[in-house]
């Protein structure tokens, strides 16, 4: 019986940073959860379809950044979904790391 290759695991700290990195690119556009999930996985593994970071870990990373005021949340009226944008605090945090 063959076995599936194991996706690499990433620490919560690395995921939090990757979330900020995704939001810092094209900073004027909000990033939906789906964009963040694909983006974080692409940044960390090079493959957007790989789910090394699953939704619960991503959400926890997003909430941590929102709580620290590194990201802000807004609601998209068309899709009713939340989008995330990097704040000036978030950009500053990225610049010093």
């Amino acid at each position: 019986m063959g076995h599936q290759p194991q996706a690499p695991q990433f620490s919560d700290a690395r995921v939090r940073k990757a979330v900020r990195e995704v939001c810092a690119l094209a900073a004027g556009y909000g990033k939906s959860e789906a964009v963040l999930l694909a983006g974080v996985n692409e940044l960390l593994t090079g493959d957007p379809t790989l789910r090394a970071v699953a939704l619960p870990q991503l959400r926890s990373g997003v909430e941590w950044n929102v709580g620290k005021n590194y990201l802000r949340r807004r609601k998209n009226e068309d899709t009713d979904a939340h989008e995330y944008l990097i704040t000036t605090n978030g950009l500053a945090k990225e610049a010093i790391e």
């Binding site: 690119l25 094209a26 556009y29 909000g30 983006g39 692409e42 090079g46 998209n76 068309d78 790391e97």
Partner: protein, 175 residues
Amino acid sequence: MDKEIRADAKLKNLGPEKLETLWRLRNPEEGGEKLTLEAIAADLPRLVGFSASLSALSDFFKWLRFKRRMEASAATATQARLELAKDSNLDPADIERAAQAVFTAEMLEAGNVRAYVALAKLRLAGRQVDLDRRRIDLLEKKAEFADLVKKAAENKAGGVTAEEMAEIERKLKMM
């Protein structure tokens, strides 16, 4: 003691020209030779003035690929925004929302701007239809209420008092 800046952070902060040079080493034009990470690492001090580990270089190239894709999506969204701005019936907030939709769609799957613009216009037109429908519903409710008031007044001896009329007007305003 100052924290030393990590090599991948230095790489990500290089200017556009240096980033393009490094990108071309891994993604050469047709006929060019694709360099290995080891070869790039060996030549890095000459190219950018500092060295980086293979893992830092590998992370950097993942980031650079993603950055380019993100920038291409943002450029497509901007193109859609310009396209929609030609339609003077659309307000800036609607255009912003449409551009955001294009950006998101582009990031999730490579798309076609014309199709997105057409979709955005349909969505905006759909919203206008919804608003019109809601206005009509409201007008119908007001008309029904006015009919009820009229019937009540006709059935009541002495007609409607001034206080009752004020209450009716207040309710109408709340609709």
